[in-house]
């Protein structure tokens, strides 16, 4: 079936991983087109998205890769699609949420851990760290293992966040519609101080 690979729109090159899977590198601009083609053309039918993740290498010039693991349940074959993003320019990719709803949380986690924004994602927020996390993106290689702030500062930030920092803007709008938001919280939200920790 590899002969089909070069029909993928936006295909740059392909390789074979150590576990025998074929890897296809796709241009960033044509990713959504390639993914739609892979999911919907009769010969491909990659209807199952196994995983979405990102890889950053230790030497900085190598590009950050966003890796999509696809699987066709009917044909029982796997395919790994990679998009290379240079760390220098803007880290954004099209979201595949429209094709596979399973990508919703996976892309939010990649955004949370690597800072790669997914255009067209319905609700791109941090998912593992709290929404107003200020130390950066943990899985980047320049992020120290024990975090950027001192331990005391991390404890202080965690213990003294504003009550509305625990809620997403969706929930705040719901609570606001039913008139449940207290006035002091409303003032802070107006000033946009959701994430700031009072001294």
């Amino acid at each position: 079936m590899t002969s089909q690979i070069d029909l993928i729109p936006g295909r740059l090159r392909e390789a074979v991983a150590r576990d025998g899977e074929t890897i296809v590198y796709v241009a960033r601009e044509r990713l959504l087109e390639a993914m739609t083609w892979l999911q919907q053309t009769p010969g491909q039918e990659y209807d199952y998205l196994v995983d979405v993740t990102a890889v950053e290498y230790r030497d900085r010039e190598r590009a950050i890769e966003v890796v999509y693991f696809l699987r066709s349940l009917s044909r029982k074959t796997d395919l790994r699609v990679k998009v290379e993003l240079q760390a220098s320019d803007e880290l954004t990719v099209d979201s595949v949420w429209g094709l596979w709803h399973g990508a919703d949380w996976l892309e939010r986690e990649v955004y949370d851990m690597f800072g790669i924004a997914f255009r067209g994602h319905p609700d791109l927020r941090r998912i593992l760290m709290w929404e107003t996390y200020a130390e950066g993106f943990p899985l980047r290689k320049d992020f120290p293992l024990r975090g950027r702030f001192s331990r005391a500062e991390q404890v202080r930030q965690a213990l003294n966040a504003n009550p509305e920092a625990h809620y997403s803007l969706d929930e705040l709008s719901i609570a606001d519609a039913w008139g449940d938001i207290p006035d002091d919280m409303r003032e802070r939200l107006k000033r946009g101080e959701r994430g700031t920790v009072p001294e």
Partner: protein, 419 residues
């Protein structure tokens, strides 16, 4: 009655490309009561760990369910980049702590595929035994806690009694009840002691009795069926689109099992069948998991029957520590011993992904290596995390007590969801 609009000029994250609030809040009808925003929060007996569900309730009906995860995020993948391959094994059994041995096996298989190592036949069968034992104890915890959630306390004590018997076997084998750290790259930490085979055989003979009792108490129980049938339904197309895996996928009627479709550890040579549901509701997930316990028991009996003799570790000194006696006497063994302890096992440049059939679903381990002894990236494909992302779709429209049943049926373990 105030129609629900966003009066605050709130920041944009909740907006989509066109600037519209993506999940447009509903318009409240006049007769209905006010909606209540409730936290089924991190500390809640029915959320199976520190999951937080912010639920918008109209009376008792769940109008919107917004899950918040990350309350147990422990940075496993970041830690993995600072550890040798054999040092990552203790990390793995703390991700999904309900089936620790299966995680150890999953990670070891991925590392061995990355390094191109063939393991010995005895080690293969022992790893199958470890995986199936983990499946049984994971389903037993699920059965116990879910029956407590829906009001039946006795199955919890029966299930935990069976778990204690498997804990005895795990403790006999690895010295730990829960944090087993069983595998090493290229083999296992230790061979099974003599009373292990006899203990496991006695377990597999008497385990179906407990399953039969639980089946008799729950399956045709009017309360249990009433609370679980037709609740949280996922159609096959939705299950595939939401990337569900494991019992969640099979209960919706998609007969996909990693052990059958992409066999590993010689699973294609075992005779077992894969239970598949039709309705995809909470009741079918219960039936699928119960049947899986029976099948796991069958596999254990077949594995015990074919357990070959021979070494458990591959005899490549660059990967497996030479025995202590030779390391002290023979110069070459000492050098290998020293290099392995100080520098760890080096992996060639490249990447490898192996997915195994974990009790929760397809657990994938993805290693990217740049030739050093510490991986560049260790990605765990978390089945519970992805299964949980379908919870809002399943829960909205049901009652609050059904949300408890649905959340229990997804069988999440927060260590794996939050990694």
């Amino acid at each position: 009655m105030s129609t629900r609009t966003v009066e605050l000029e709130l920041a944009t994250p909740g907006m989509d490309a066109q600037g519209q609030p993506t999940r447009v809040p509903l318009t409240a009808s006049d007769l209905g009561g006010e909606h209540l925003l409730l936290n089924m929060g991190p500390q809640h007996p029915a959320t199976h760990g520190v999951l937080r569900l912010v639920v918008e309730l109209d009376g008792e009906t769940v109008v919107r369910c917004i899950p918040h995860v990350g309350y147990l995020h422990s940075g496993f993948e970041k830690l993995g980049e600072y550890r040798h391959y054999n040092q990552i094994v203790p990390l793995t059994d703390r991700t999904d702590y309900l089936s620790p041995m299966a995680n150890n096996v999953g990670m070891a298989l991925a590392a061995e595929k990355l390094m191109g190592i063939e393991i010995t036949p005895r080690c293969t069968v022992l790893r199958v035994i470890a995986c199936e034992m983990s499946r049984i104890i994971s389903h037993m915890v699920w059965l116990g806690t879910t029956s407590i959630d829906l009001g039946a306390f006795t199955p919890f004590l029966w299930a935990f009694q069976e778990r204690e018997r498997i804990y005895n076997l795990q403790e006999m084998w690895t010295g730990a009840r829960l944090t087993t750290s069983l595998t090493r790259v290229g083999g296992l930490m230790a061979d099974i002691p003599d009373p292990f085979v006899e203990g496991l055989r006695k377990f597999t003979d008497t385990f179906p009795n407990t399953l039969g009792e639980i089946d008799r108490v729950l399956t045709r129980n009017a309360v249990w069926a009433g609370r679980t049938q037709g609740i949280g339904v996922m159609t096959p197309a939705e299950a595939i689109n939401y990337s569900l895996s494991g019992p969640m996928l099979r209960a919706s009627g998609v007969p996909y099992d990693v052990r059958k479709d992409k066999p590993y550890l010689g699973y294609d040579t075992y005779d077992f069948d894969v239970p598949v549901g039709e309705h995809g509701d909470v009741y079918d997930r219960y039936l699928v998991r119960l049947e899986e316990c029976h099948q796991a028991n069958r596999i254990l009996q077949q594995a015990l029957a074919r357990l070959p003799d021979g070494p458990i570790n591959v005899d490549d000194p660059r990967v497996i520590l030479p025995p202590k006696s030779r390391a002290m006497s023979d110069m070459e063994a000492m050098i290998f011993h020293f290099k392995q302890v100080m520098e760890g096992v080096k992996a060639p440049v490249g990447e490898a992904y192996v997915g195994i059939e974990n009790p929760k679903g397809e657990l994938g381990n993805y290693f990217v290596s740049d030739g050093t002894a510490k991986p560049v990236r260790w990605r765990i494909r978390p089945p519970s995390f992805i299964n949980l992302s379908a919870l809002p779709k399943m829960a909205e429209g049901h009652l609050l007590s059904d949300l408890v049943a649905i959340n229990a049926s997804v069988d999440i373990v927060m260590g794996e969801v939050d990694r």
